[in-house]
Structure formats: C-alpha cells, structure tokens
C-alpha cells in the first residue's frame, strides 16, 4: 500500500473534522503533495516555492513565496481577532522602496491582524492603494470580526513572485461560527492609484 493511502489520506480525513483554519492547512498539504513526483532518490518537489507561517493570537497565515526572488506568490490566512494599531518593527518601508517611487510596503494580511510580518508577506503597493481601497478592505475585515464572524482569505499576487506586483486578486470567505453559514467575495485590485473598495461600515452592520 502506498504512503498516500496508508498515511496521508487518513491524516487528511482526520483534519477535515477540525476547525476551518486547520482544514486550510490540510488542503495546502494535499495540494502540495499533488505537485510532488517520485524519483529513484526519493520525492522531489515540482513546485518551486517555499512558505512562511505567521501566527498572532488565533490568527494564522501562510505566505507562499518564490525562493529566487523572495517575493510573495500567494497568501492564505484565517482571521478571528483584530489587534488594531501597534508598533511597526518590520521591513515594510524598505520593501516599499523596492517598487516605484512613492510606493508603500503593503502587508498582504494586514499589520493589525498579524503584527510585524516576514518580508515575504509584504509587497510594494501604490501608496494610494495601500492607504485607500486595501485599507478599506482591512477595515471591513475588522468589522466582520467585531461582529463575531471569521474571515478566511487568499491573496494571489500577479505576476507571482514579482518584485512589484501588477495586480492582487483577493478571495475571502466570511463564516458565521454560530450557524456555519459562509459567503465568499472576490475583489481585484490593480497595483495603481484610485482603486475602489466600497467598504460597508460597522454602523451598517446590523444583526450582531
């Protein structure tokens, strides 16, 4: 019997009964396992990427990055808490300077949720995007958390592993832990000024 049937499948099945952020890890594990090939010397990864994990309180995220450029390909995270503003001690400013003049170093998952972030989880963003539409989205995520919901997100960076991304595609799922109900929204942001995200303010978030 293969290691997949005897070990990996039971492990994945067991993880499927775990909370959603653990299931995310199981899904990532499964996807990565599908992209491995066996050779005479053992198992070799077909994917050319590496990952870095960040945990703060009940929030957890994994950033997948290109080891050649050290820049992000995608990031998946689970947010249950909002820590608000806090001291910034990471390299966001320096990473912003690797982009265009005036770019910010944008935290993919939001500093307010994960605090200081490894370099791979920060990308040069047009300042107007980072401080405008992207921040509005983060504020809305904070409002969802404040109303008792959880946010699971995936951010895909285009081109993957680029020094300065052209575009970010975000997919986030809001879950009501009381009912298990989920809804998924997928906004797209070009890495340019004047991007739009129509935030729904907390005062309009009724029912919780």
């Amino acid at each position: 019997m293969s290691i997949g049937k005897s070990v990996i499948r039971p492990l994945k099945d067991a993880l499927d009964d775990m909370p959603v952020h653990i299931r995310q890890l199981a899904e990532m594990f499964r996807k990565h396992a599908q992209k491995q090939r066996r050779n005479n010397d053992g198992i070799a990864d077909v994917d050319k990427f590496d990952g870095v994990h960040t945990v703060r309180g009940d929030n957890i995220k994994t950033t997948i990055f290109d080891p050649k450029t050290n820049r992000p390909i995608s990031e998946r995270g689970h947010i249950r808490e909002d820590f608000g503003s806090s001291h910034r001690g990471d390299n966001a400013t320096e990473i912003g300077r690797t982009g265009r003049s005036g770019d910010d170093g944008g935290h993919l998952g939001g500093h307010r949720f994960f605090g200081d972030t490894p370099d791979q989880g920060i990308a040069p963003q047009a300042a107007n995007l980072n401080r405008g539409a992207w921040r509005k989205m983060e504020n809305e995520w904070a409002d969802w958390v404040a109303t008792g919901r959880h946010v699971d997100y995936e951010i895909r960076v285009y081109p993957p592993g680029s020094t300065r991304p052209d575009k970010f595609e975000v997919e986030y799922t809001v879950t009501d832990p009381a009912t298990g109900k989920q809804m998924t929204f997928t906004p797209v942001f070009d890495n340019e000024p004047d991007q739009v995200f129509d935030r729904i303010y907390k005062k309009d978030m009724q029912g919780k």
């Binding site: 409002d143 969802w144 109303t147 919901r149 595609e169 997919e171 799922t173 809001v174 009501d176 109900k181 989920q182 809804m183 998924t184 929204f185 997928t186 906004p187 797209v188 070009d190 739009v196 129509d198 729904i200 309009d204 978030m205 009724q206 029912g207 919780k208």
Partner: protein, 126 residues
C-alpha cells in the same frame, strides 16, 4: 447575437464556478464591473433542496466573457452598469441577467444582508 453572448456569459460562469458541490441545482453570481473589467465577484449556489451552499468565482476567469457580453450592449462612450446579477437554473436551463446602473451596494454582502442575501439573489423565473 444577444442570446449568444448571454449563453457565453452563463457558460463561463458555470465553467469557472468553484467551491460548490458537484450537484448544485442553481446559482446566482453578482459581478462588480467597470471599464477595466470585473472588479469583484460574489457567487452563491443552491443545492437540490434549495439550501444555499458556498461557491466562488475568480473575476479574471470570467472577465473575457463579461467583456464580450457588455460590448454587445454598450458602446465605448456609454455608461456601464456597476453590477450584473447572473442567475441560472441548471435543470430548466433558464437564466436571467439583471443590470444595476447606479448602486454598487445593491447586492453587497454585509452582516446586515448575510442571513438574507441568498434569498434575495435566489433565481425565480416564474
């Protein structure tokens, strides 16, 4: 012409639907649109019992079909709608596309609408 591009839009939405169970019965998709393409997508699928189930659509994957669809109705200088609601029933093959011209929040997901949006968007063709 119009029917062809609409069918193309529906086909693209169905082909690129993710997260939904294989046996979904109907679906509703809200697309935020602009001159630069699809800027956001909200998808809800419904199973055979009528229960809403999670679903997702990537804007970049349906973008070409949406562009073709909109180009068939609107010229270069025309104002585009801000949202499209695409509804499709798998068993009957019936579909409907509704334009929202002004309010980008008409079919927005908020905590206020979280418990009711699936009913609001549910396909009803009778």
């Amino acid at each position: 012409m119009t029917e062809d591009v609409t069918v193309g839009l529906i086909r693209s939405v169905v082909e690129h639907l993710r997260k939904a169970p294989e046996d979904w019965a109907s679906l509703a998709v809200v697309l935020d649109v602009s001159r630069s393409g699809v800027r956001g997508a909200l998808a809800i699928a419904y199973d055979a019992d009528g229960e809403s189930v999670p679903a997702a659509i990537s804007p970049s994957e349906v973008d070409p079909a949406v562009k073709t669809y909109l180009d068939s109705f609107f010229g270069e200088g025309d104002a585009l709608p801000v949202q499209l609601l695409v509804q499709f029933d798998r068993a009957s093959g019936r579909y409907e596309v509704t334009f929202e011209d002004e309010d980008p929040n008409r079919w927005r997901l908020t905590p206020k609408t979280f418990d009711t949006l699936d009913e609001t968007l549910r396909p009803r063709f009778d």
